[in-house]
């Protein structure tokens, strides 16, 4: 375990050090202390390392992550794991708005609640939220899975493409073109696997699945007069 203290190390040096582990084969454990809500912690990593942040963070924690496992022992500010490609990001507390936005791959686990726009424009990432999510979550989500053990806010899945949304609690309202869909065995299997990976104590059968009605995919000539 190697410790980097942000009280004595600059953010740029921290990220440069972590990014320099690229290409090394032996997994390395890193601990970051005194984050004090700093922005852009542990971003652009591309190595199978484990990074633990001891405290809460600001904007864009673990952005663009590849391979690494980043754990935040606190809450994360806006845009955590934005555009993640692979690896795992775990937030022990809450996450602010647009968690996991545009993520291409990997797993984002939020043990508390996520606020608005969680998984906006997600493109293959898997997101598991143990608590609730805010409004406009999974807006224009293209692929991947968003799993919510709690409740979802207004306009879930507005203008959704092919991402799968699983919610155990209530959904305040569905966005345009988002509908409830049948839960088939393959969805139960996906959910079972994601819940296990995220250490979530829930049964797949308790969830409802939501997806795209696919009515907004193509221009409908009957709507021409509206333009």
């Amino acid at each position: 375990m190697q410790t980097i203290d942000l009280a004595t190390t600059t953010l740029r040096d921290l990220n440069a050090t972590l990014q320099a582990t690229k290409g090394q084969t032996n997994a390395t454990a890193w601990e970051i202390v005194n984050p004090k809500g700093s922005h852009a912690l542990a971003v652009g990593l591309d190595a199978p390392i484990e990074v633990t942040v001891k405290g809460s963070t600001g904007y864009y924690t673990a952005g663009m992550n590849k391979q690494a496992t980043v754990t935040v022992k606190g809450s994360a500010g806006p845009g955590v794991a934005e555009n993640m490609m692979s690896g795992t990001v775990i937030i022990e507390g809450d996450a602010s708005q647009y968690a996991g936005a545009t993520g291409n791959g990997g797993l984002l686990v939020i043990k508390g609640n996520a606020s608005s726009r969680c998984g906006i424009s997600m493109k293959g990432i898997n997101i598991v939220v143990h608590g609730n999510i805010g409004h406009m979550s999974a807006f224009m989500a293209q692929s991947g899975n968003l799993v919510v053990l709690g409740d979802a806010g207004d306009a879930l899945g507005d203008s959704l493409y092919e991402a799968r949304l699983f919610v155990r609690g209530s959904v305040k309202s569905l966005g345009a073109d988002c509908i409830e869909k049948e839960m088939r065995p393959e969805h139960i299997a996906i959910l079972q696997d994601l819940l296990a990976q995220a250490g979530a104590d829930a049964k797949p059968e308790e969830f409802k699945r939501y997806g795209s009605a696919r009515k907004l995919y193509n221009f409908n000539i009957d709507n021409a007069s509206a333009y």
Binding site: G37, G58, S75, D94, S96, S115, S116, H135
Partner: protein, 297 residues
């Protein structure tokens, strides 16, 4: 982008620390608003009305102001100067007369706030420099609100800085932008409200003051504002008794709150709260969209 900080003390033993804690929070938010800064501090009610006045010609305007104003209103006036600002303390029944007299006595003077406990200090410049000019860290009080400004829609001037005060002991700070402020301003002018700037936030403050003057409770006024004020906003509002928070329904302007037995704190970012006492064990949360929060002493 702008930065907001706020601190509401439950534990009176922290009151001498209010200015120091708020100054630290304010400076942390410099990245979000380096062009101007301001602070509203609510101290004890002294039984007198306090007018916070500002002048770009402070030497000239403040020199004999207490005597001149005292003579004009026929009552005692004391003056305490802090850089470009001064606090005039006078009997509360002379408040309206004093404001009327000031326009004639000192045409360049601006009234920043009026009330039993509010004092407002604001200027252009880096938050650390503004806080130092007014000695904010030495101030005590029961609650306070600070703002760091990155102007997007009106000029970088002293009067364009936040907080805006448009009613007795009231103030408002804003992160965001309003899109219907011109039409609202015209309506409010017809209702008799006056404006010092072209700033959108001043319109929100005046709209709230107008509602409060009609006898509407602050919580109800803030809720009604959700239907009237169009745009992006996180507002923090101060009154003599406490402070309130409201975010627009889209809630893209950030906000973090923390509460302990000793205080309730607001920050645009968690960074602003990290040096508060006991923050490690505080309840920290993000205020919900379109939801009014208020704390009273």
């Amino acid at each position: 982008m702008c930065g907001i900080v706020g601190l509401f003390l439950k534990d009176r033993s922290l009151e001498p620390e209010l200015g120091r804690l708020l100054t630290d929070m304010l400076i942390t938010m410099t990245d979000r608003g380096p062009d101007s800064a301001g602070i509203a501090v609510y101290g004890d009610d002294t039984g007198l009305v306090k007018l916070t006045v500002q002048s770009a010609f402070a030497e000239r305007d403040f020199a004999t102001l207490a005597e001149d104003l005292g003579g004009a209103i026929g009552g005692p006036v004391s003056l305490s100067r802090k850089d470009t600002h001064a606090i005039l303390s006078l009997p509360s029944d002379k408040s309206a007369a004093a404001r009327a007299a000031l326009t004639g006595l000192r045409p360049d003077l601006r009234v920043m706030s009026a009330g039993d406990s509010i004092e407002i200090y604001k200027e252009t410049g880096l938050p650390k420099d503004v806080a130092a000019r007014f000695g904010v860290s030495q101030m005590s009080g029961r609650h306070g609100i600070g703002h760091t400004r990155m102007a997007t829609e009106s000029a970088v001037t002293t009067m364009g800085a936040h907080p805006f005060s448009t009613g007795m002991d009231q103030c408002l700070v804003h992160n965001g932008s309003l899109s219907n402020h011109n039409s609202l301003r015209r309506e409010l002018i017809r209702e008799g409200m006056t404006f010092e700037t072209q700033n959108d936030t001043e319109v929100a403050a005046a709209w709230l003051s107008h509602k409060l003057a009609q006898g509407v409770e602050l919580g109800d006024a803030l809720r009604a504002g959700l239907d009237v004020l169009d745009g992006f906003y996180t507002f923090v509002v101060g009154t003599k008794d406490g402070f309130g928070v409201v975010r627009d329904p889209i809630a893209c302007k950030p906000a973090v709150m923390a509460e302990t037995d000793q205080y309730v704190a607001f920050g645009s970012e968690y960074r602003a709260l990290v040096n508060l006492p006991g923050i490690e064990d505080a309840r920290v949360w993000e205020p919900e969209p379109a939801t009014v929060y208020f704390w009273k002493h």
